[in-house]
């Protein structure tokens, strides 16, 4: 099972054992990362599961959809490596990925 390294807002880093086939958002929440609110439950209707993805891992991710792109625009904290974690499905190909929880809007 892939390992995801997540840095929370207090700067602490935690390694999570993720479940394949589930979204990164679901895995972060299952791992107790409560800063990921994911208010809409993962249907790409809000932007409360916003993370920064380690640049090295960006090419491994599926492209950003127009809806995700627009929703990310609603965040004042958007960066070039911003993603909504509900839109990233975890697989072995992402073993070792590092993400940081974006600041609250």
């Amino acid at each position: 099972m892939p390992i995801v390294t997540v840095t929370t807002r207090d700067g602490r880093t935690k390694d999570l054992t993720a479940q394949n086939g589930r979204s990164l958002m679901e895995n972060l929440r299952a791992g107790g990362i409560e800063e990921i609110l994911a208010l809409c439950g993962g249907c790409c209707s809000c932007a409360t599961c916003h993370v920064y993805v380690d640049e090295d891992w960006l090419p491994a991710l599926p492209p950003i959809s127009a809806d995700e792109d627009d929703l990310l625009d609603s965040s004042g904290a958007r960066r070039p490596n911003s993603r909504l974690s509900c839109q990233i499905k975890v697989s072995d190909a992402l073993d070792g990925i590092a993400v940081t929880v974006a600041p609250e809007d």
Partner: protein
Amino acid sequence: MRRRRHRQRDHRRGAELRHFDVLIVGTGHAGATTAIHLRQLGNTGSIGLLGEEEELPYERPPLSKDYLAGKKSAADILFRPCNFRAERDVTLIPGERVVSIDPGARTIGCASGATISYGNLVWTAGGRPKRVAGAHVIRSLADVDTLRAELPSATRILIIGGGYIGLEAAAVLTSLGKQVTLAEAADRVLARCAAEPLSRFLEAEHRAHGVDIHLNTSSIDHNQHDLVIAGIGILPNVDPLLQAGAEGADGVLVDEHCRTTLPHVWAAGDCALHHNPFGPARPIRIESVQNASDMATTIARALTGQPQPYRAVPWFWSNQYDLRLQTVGLSNDHDEVLVRGDPATRKFAVIYRRAGRVIALDCINNVRDYVQGRGLIESGVEVDAALLADPDRPLKSLLES
């Protein structure tokens, strides 16, 4: 029976002992969020989370969508799969209902006979669905489990009420191959919360998917259907608060920090009647995850000495078939409706104005307008109607002009 007696005895034994620095009543989004945020903000006191349901806190929005469709399991919709008790030191008190409050003694009385004392009481008890005899409702996990158990033997389903719950259920059930009839008492669906262009668009969408919609219909023959579902709104669960002297009616009145008029008693979520900075002059209740979550945060901040008034732009979403509906702002008391884009393209927005200012947008398959429209609501700028209605002009650009 045996288990039940045992539990009641436990409650009575605990009656003299039980005290929580913060006692939260209601295990929905507002209650669970209050508990989590209190800990995140550094609160170390004892927290009790009491609710009528036996289940761990879970998310309600999927109940009328993916959970009804069988696409998500009960485990999938748990509110943060974290273990409240172990990781957050939150004491869960399931299967319990509050019947009285003594604000002077700072105690609550429970249906089981137990008495629990509190330092602060956070009331997040939500609402109970209005009932129609013989009809299912969609409010709790147990409601939907009961409904789903009957689905295999049901072909013809009647849904009473053309609000969001009824429409979402109609979309799921037709996709499961059911023959759905939807009866709405008003002359259009979503009559209470949206303008006519959205109502007519959704009626056409649902009819195209095979839903038999009857408008202006308050009574319909149940016997022609194998199963009946009522989605006609909720009644806020505030009776013990009002009986204890809290101000309110159809909800409990709270101020900008979500304080009720009773000392040390707070309220959040569906049952909290409040003056919303983005709403009309009169107090209103808002039934949404956003409102529940942000009010809960407001209370957690106040209780940890970091008060910040509740001032969040309201937002809401719904999924029906392949339609993504997103609402930002509150359309109450609008005096003008503009349609931006052509509904025939299945991508458009309905813009609500009051006194020339944009107060809300319903966006259909149109995330961009949803995101950019928020800025117009927040800024309160007056924008020319023709510019707003021009879908080729980004809403963001109107803000800058």
